[in-house]
C-alpha cells in the first residue's frame, strides 16, 4: 500500500493538476502549488475520501503545506482508527 505521503501527493497532483514529482513536503498549497479558494476545499474533501476520514473543517483548511497535511492526516487517521 502506498504511504500517506504518496497518497497525499497523488491527491494534490490530481486536484491541482500538477506533476506528482514536482510536489515537495515543504510546498505551500497556495503560494507554491497554486491552490485557489475552492481548490483548497476540494483538496480537503478529496483527502477525506481518499483516507475514509472526517476532518475538522477549520483545522484542515488552516494546514498550509504538503508536509503538515501529511502529519495532520496521519494524526486524524490514528484518532479515527483508520489504518494507513
Amino acid at each position: 500500500m502506498a504511504s500517506v505521503e504518496e497518497r497525499v501527493k497523488e491527491v494534490t497532483a490530481r486536484v491541482l493538476k500538477v506533476d506528482t514529482s514536482k510536489i515537495g513536503r515543504g510546498d505551500q498549497f497556495g503560494a507554491d502549488l497554486g491552490a485557489e479558494s475552492v481548490q483548497s476545499v476540494e483538496l480537503v474533501a478529496m483527502f477525506e475520501e481518499e483516507f475514509g476520514i472526517e476532518m475538522n473543517e477549520d483545522e484542515a483548511l488552516s494546514v498550509d503545506t504538503v508536509g503538515s497535511a501529511i502529519d495532520y492526516i496521519s494524526k486524524v487517521c490514528q484518532e479515527q482508527g483508520v489504518q494507513v
Binding site: S37, V38, V41, E42, V44, A45, E57
Partner: protein
C-alpha cells in the same frame, strides 16, 4: 482657523470582543442613543438648546399618505387593494397607533367607497382623514363622509401664491385660506393646513403671520378642532443639518412654529420629498426638533422622487424608542410582497424589502455570515422581517457562500449545518460556470436547486423535506 490640540488614544487591549450590544441589540434595529448634553442651534443669533432624548417620552407618530401622495404617482388602486393595504397598515402600526392616521381623496364614488370599507374594518388606527383643496365647497365632501379631520392645501411660497394660484397679494391669499379654515370649523371638521412649498417660502413675511392667525382662530374653537400644521417640503429642499438658513432649515422652521408661534408638537407634522436624497434624514430630524408626526408612504412611493418611506420611519421609531411599541414588523415584508404583486416596482437593493437587501455576494462576506450572521446582517432580519440573510451565487461567492446557500435552502441550523467541505462539488460547478463556461450572470436559486439534487444526492435525500424553509 483654530488649531486643534491632538489627543493620544492608547489601544485598549482585550481578548474578549466588545460588540457594543447596548446599541447593536440584534433583536432590534440599531438603537439611537444621544449624548447627555443638548444640541445647540443658533436661531436669530441666539443659541437655542434642543434635547433630542425627549423623543423617547414624546408621543411621536407616523402618518400615512400612501393613498394620496402615493397614489398621485401611479394609476389608481382598486378599492379591494386599498382596503387590503389599509388592513395591513393597521396591523403594522399595532394597537398603540404608531401609524396614527392615513388620508384619503374624497372626490370620486370610488374614493368614498374605499373610505367606507376601510372604516368598516373597525380598526382604531390608522384614523381616516381626508384631503381636499382649500375650497369651501369641498367641505361638503368631508362632512358627508363623516370625517373629523381633513388636510387642505394652503400653499405658502410666492411661487404658488402668485405664480400658480394667481392671488393678487399675500393678504388676499391669507384671507382666502382663513375663510376655508373658518368653514371647516363651522362644519365641525378639524383643518390640517398643508403649508405647501414651505422650504421655498418667505417665512417671516408670510408663513409665520399666517400660522399666527390660524392659532388665533383656533383659540375660539374646541381643542379637537384646533388647526394642525403640515410642513410640506414639496420640492425636497429642506436641510436637516445645523446652521442652514431659512427657509431650508428644518430645525429653524420647526422652532419658529413650535416655540415662537406656539403650535404644540402634537399639531405639527412633517411631509417630505426625496428630490435630493434627503427624505428620510429630514423626516427623522423633524421628529427630533419638535414635530410629533412624520408623514410617509409605503416604500417611499410618491410624487416624482417620492416621500419619506413609511417602513424607514417605522425602523427609526423603534431605534429611537428602544422598543417595538406594538409594531408588527414582519407585516412590512407582507406589504412589500403584496405591493409587488399589484405592480409596484421595488428595486432589488431597496432597504428592508428589496430582493437583495440582505444578500451578500462576496465570498469573504459569506464566510463572515457563515461564522456569525451578525457580522454582515444589519439586525435579525429573519425575526423582524422574516427574511434570513442570503447569499447570491456568483464567481465571487466561494465555497463559503455556496455552503451558506445550501444551509439556507434546507433550513439547517446549528450543528445540523453542512460544512463547506461537503458542498465542494457544487462550489466547483459554480466556479466552472464562470471560469470554463464564461458565464456573466448570477446563478439562480432554481439552477442551484437542480445542481444540489444532482451533485449532492445523499444530502438532498436526507434534507429534502426541509426545502423552502430558508429560501
Amino acid at each position: 482657523m483654530t488649531t486643534t490640540q491632538t489627543k493620544s488614544h492608547p489601544l485598549v487591549n482585550t481578548t474578549e470582543p466588545n460588540l457594543i450590544e447596548d446599541t447593536f441589540d440584534y433583536n432590534l434595529p440599531p438603537l439611537i442613543h444621544f449624548e447627555d448634553h443638548p444640541t445647540v442651534e443658533y436661531i436669530d443669533g441666539k443659541p437655542i438648546e434642543f434635547n433630542f432624548s425627549d423623543v423617547k417620552k414624546r408621543d411621536i407618530v407616523i402618518t400615512d399618505t400612501t393613498f394620496r401622495d402615493g397614489q398621485q404617482a401611479r394609476p389608481p388602486y382598486e378599492i379591494d387593494q386599498m382596503v387590503k393595504i389599509y388592513d395591513m397598515l393597521a396591523r403594522l402600526g399595532g394597537p398603540n397607533g404608531v401609524i396614527r392616521q392615513t388620508e384619503f381623496f374624497l372626490y370620486t364614488k370610488n374614493d368614498r367607497e374605499t373610505l367606507d370599507r376601510c372604516r368598516a374594518l373597525g380598526h382604531k388606527y390608522p384614523e381616516c382623514t381626508g384631503w381636499i383643496r382649500a375650497v369651501k365647497s369641498d367641505f361638503r365632501l368631508v362632512k358627508e363622509a363623516g370625517l373629523k379631520e381633513t388636510g387642505m392645501l394652503t400653499s405658502s411660497s410666492d411661487y404658488h401664491i402668485f405664480q400658480k394660484l394667481k392671488f393678487k397679494s399675500r393678504q388676499e391669499c391669507m384671507d382666502s385660506y382663513c375663510e376655508v379654515v373658518a368653514a371647516a370649523f363651522e362644519a365641525g371638521v378639524r383643518p390640517r393646513c398643508h403649508l405647501e412649498d414651505l422650504t421655498r417660502a418667505d417665512i417671516d413675511g408670510f408663513v409665520l403671520p399666517f400660522v399666527e392667525r390660524l392659532m388665533e382662530m383656533s383659540r375660539d374653537v374646541p381643542p379637537e378642532l384646533a388647526v394642525k400644521i403640515r410642513l410640506c417640503d414639496t420640492m425636497g429642499f429642506g436641510l436637516h443639518y445645523p446652521n442652514a438658513r431659512l427657509p431650508r432649515s428644518i430645525p429653524k422652521l420647526i422652532y419658529k412654529l413650535n416655540q415662537e408661534i406656539g403650535v404644540p408638537s402634537d399639531r405639527l407634522e412633517w411631509h417630505g420629498h426625496n428630490d435630493f436624497h434627503r427624505v428620510h434624514a429630514n423626516s427623522s430630524t423633524a421628529w427630533l426638533y419638535g414635530c410629533n408626526a412624520v408623514n410617509g408612504t409605503l416604500f417611499g412611493f410618491g410624487e416624482r422622487t417620492g416621500n419619506p418611506p413609511l417602513e424607514g420611519a417605522i425602523m427609526e421609531y423603534i431605534a429611537l424608542k428602544g422598543d417595538l411599541c406594538g409594531i408588527d414588523t414582519p407585516v412590512i415584508t407582507e406589504l412589500a410582497e403584496y405591493m409587488k404583486s399589484i405592480g409596484l416596482p421595488i428595486p432589488e437593493n431597496y432597504p428592508f424589502v428589496g430582493k437583495h437587501f440582505n444578500t451578500t455576494r462576496a465570498g469573504i462576506h459569506a464566510g463572515g455570515l457563515r461564522q456569525d450572521e451578525r457580522i454582515y446582517n444589519i439586525f435579525d432580519t429573519e425575526k423582524l422581517l422574516q427574511r434570513p440573510p442570503r447569499v447570491a451565487i456568483t464567481d465571487k461567492t466561494g465555497a463559503d457562500g455556496v455552503a451558506l446557500w445550501v444551509n439556507d435552502f434546507f433550513g439547517l441550523k446549528g450543528d445540523d449545518r453542512i460544512s463547506k467541505i461537503k458542498v465542494h462539488k457544487l462550489a466547483r460547478w459554480v466556479m466552472d460556470q464562470y471560469e470554463v463556461e464564461k458565464r456573466l450572470t448570477a446563478i439562480s436559486d432554481q439552477e442551484l436547486e437542480t445542481k444540489t439534487r444532482e451533485l449532492m444526492p445523499t444530502i438532498w435525500e436526507k434534507y429534502k423535506g426541509k426545502v423552502g424553509v430558508g429560501v
